[in-house]
Subunit: 337 residues, 2 copies
DNA sequence: GCTGGCACTCACCCGTGCTGAGTGCCAATG
DNA sequence: CATTGGCACTCAGCACGGGTGAGTGCCAGC
């Protein structure tokens, strides 16, 4: 009883179930796939696979279905199928038509949802490290000013600051000029330190401190992490895999963002393409879905993450290929800017 | 056979069906509601209501269900039920905690989805009319500059412009200074005209024209209209009203945006609270849903629209009350900024 | 260790019959 | 003449039951 054939059986079960969405039986397997053995032999293998917890039967006298663990084994050992990337050039040109970062992200998420036919998720880079290009300070009302921070990566962030009614226009103009001298060309962290020192100088107005903090924060891209998604309709089309309760809780989890962001964050450090299957997501709402994610580079460190979310019964090979391809092209497009 | 009682029957049918989600029959009606007549009488009324196309039966020997036209009549004539606004103050404080326009919109859409238990939609103001406060011009690369337009309503828009590799930093600085002189304090339309004149002056670099256009466009809030939504999970919870195909196509329509935006735009001119029921949405994908919308003022003209989208079998009175309340508070919060 | 054979299980399908909520029609009533 | 009670009829929904077939586990034989 070769270990090898047993894996082939598992692979056939996964592939069969993914394509037909019906439990696969020994006879059907022997007939369609080229395993070259009889149904009885396959049954023996199945018994062992079931003991190992890799497959299960929905009810007695039904075919077998992969468990989360079975999918996991498949992904880890068997899905090294040729990661063809048919749309390479199409992806690239589609993404490079984008005008700014927002547009790139927007396009990526749509593209990925179409390629995978799953829900696509793109996390915005959380900590950004581009140098500050310019800071603008505009009084909006008697007691309030708006700080606009323009980064070298064509990003524009804004922050409202209370300055109190006593601030003079002259003070504001001087502060703006000084801030630009202090902070321009610096990365957010360094700029933050420089502005802190600036605010501590004698003679500065009382709102200099909060202003310095707000600018540094804005330069970091704001504190908030954010993810956008597309293709939620694919959830509804998942058919038997997800009932409407599942769909509801998944949509909730997506809107909640925090769960998803934590998950994406965890996965970002796990090498090329990372997969979370069913309960591995650690979240009740996502227990019947899988998430395939890949980080996309941004400057040096691994910046943010893109991913595809779908029912556990998904085509992992194809999804992983698509996620990987889009992340790679996304990286080159962003870096070439 | 009083016209009045027949309307009461229609009202009772709508309310009964909305609360139980099951077709309502004559006996059940006579027993539960206080119409003071016998089932037979109600049946007579029902026959007429059915002839008028206001109600229908899913199959022979089942109760009656309102048609789109029935809901329409109900909304137009019978839903003037006390629009209690229980959460008035809560809404107000919740919204006024917001820091900027984005945040206000974000909060509104979440709030509305929770109040109505439907999908909430908030359209960003499409044509904006706030004066330009300041324009900033920053060179991003050899051939590209970023124009940042800050409006008096604390909005920051950006636009990338190709300036060609020959532009000198001095040219850019002079253009920025001149643009601020020309355009500051003007509304977008006037500013566009002023900038056009500016770009036409002799001696201007070749990129002055495109730049002027880009700035004017950005000041208008960009050409793109945008809507955000929340509470999509409520669709999945709609139970029998929407099957998964419906949910899928609704989610598609939401992501598509263009259909939804056109619809919202149409509805924005229709007075206080406007309702589109089922096929009235004019869209196949939304044929089994209704949209309740209200414009929220922005400056003078009707600016943008918020709305709630749900199955045609929804509690119109409550939804209309919530949409109306949120739009009203949203208006005051925005205008007080 | 693989295979064919065999008895067994059980979800699924389909036809049957019953029940009850609901209807339409009609004659009687105030 | 609108309203009502009575009555026959319809039909979705449900429970019951038998037949079918894909699938299984086990075992003896190669």
């Amino acid at each position: 009883m070769s270990e090898e054939r047993r894996q082939a059986v598992l692979q056939a079960i996964v592939e069969g179930y993914v394509s037909t969405s019906e439990p696969v039986g020994s006879q059907a397997l022997a007939r369609s796939k080229s395993l070259g053995v009889s149904p009885a032999t396959i049954r023996n293998d199945m018994t062992i696979l079931e003991e190992e917890g890799l497959i299960t039967q929905p009810h007695t006298s039904a075919g077998r279905v992969p468990t989360d663990k079975g999918y996991r084994f498949f992904v880890d050992h068997l899905a090294a199928r040729a990661l063809r990337e048919p749309h390479g050039n199409a992806i690239r040109t589609f993404l490079s038509d984008a005008v700014d970062l927002n547009d790139v992200v927007e396009r990526s998420v749509r593209l990925l949802s179409q390629l995978t036919r799953q829900v696509a998720v793109v996390q915005y880079p959380s900590v950004r490290d581009a140098a500050i290009q310019r800071v603008e300070l505009v009084r909006m009302s008697q007691a309030r000013a708006l700080a606009v921070v323009i980064s070298a990566d064509a990003r524009v962030e804004q922050a409202a600051v209370e300055i109190g009614p006593d601030a003079t226009d002259e003070q504001i103009a001087r502060a703006a000029a000084e801030i630009n001298i202090e902070a321009c060309g610096l990365r957010p962290t360094a700029a933050g330190a420089a502005l802190e020192a600036w605010a501590a100088r004698p003679g500065q107005p009382s709102w200099a401190g909060p202003l310095a903090v707000a600018i540094a924060e804005a330069a970091h891209g704001g504190v908030v992490e954010k993810a956008v998604f597309a293709g939620t309709a694919n959830l509804a089309r998942a058919g038997r895999d997800l009932d409407s309760v599942d769909i509801g809780s998944v949509l909730d989890a997506l809107e909640e963002q925090v769960v998803l962001l934590r998950l994406l964050h965890e996965m970002s450090t796990e090498g090329e393409v990372s997969v979370r299957i069913g309960a591995e997501t650690g979240n009740e709402a996502l227990a019947r879905t899988s998430l395939v994610a890949a980080g996309y580079a941004r400057g040096e460190g691994p910046g943010a993450v893109i991913g595809a979310l779908g029912p556990t019964r998904m085509d992992y090979a194809a999804t992983m290929a698509a996620v990987s391809a889009v992340s790679r092209y996304l990286s080159t497009v962003i870096e070439s800017e």
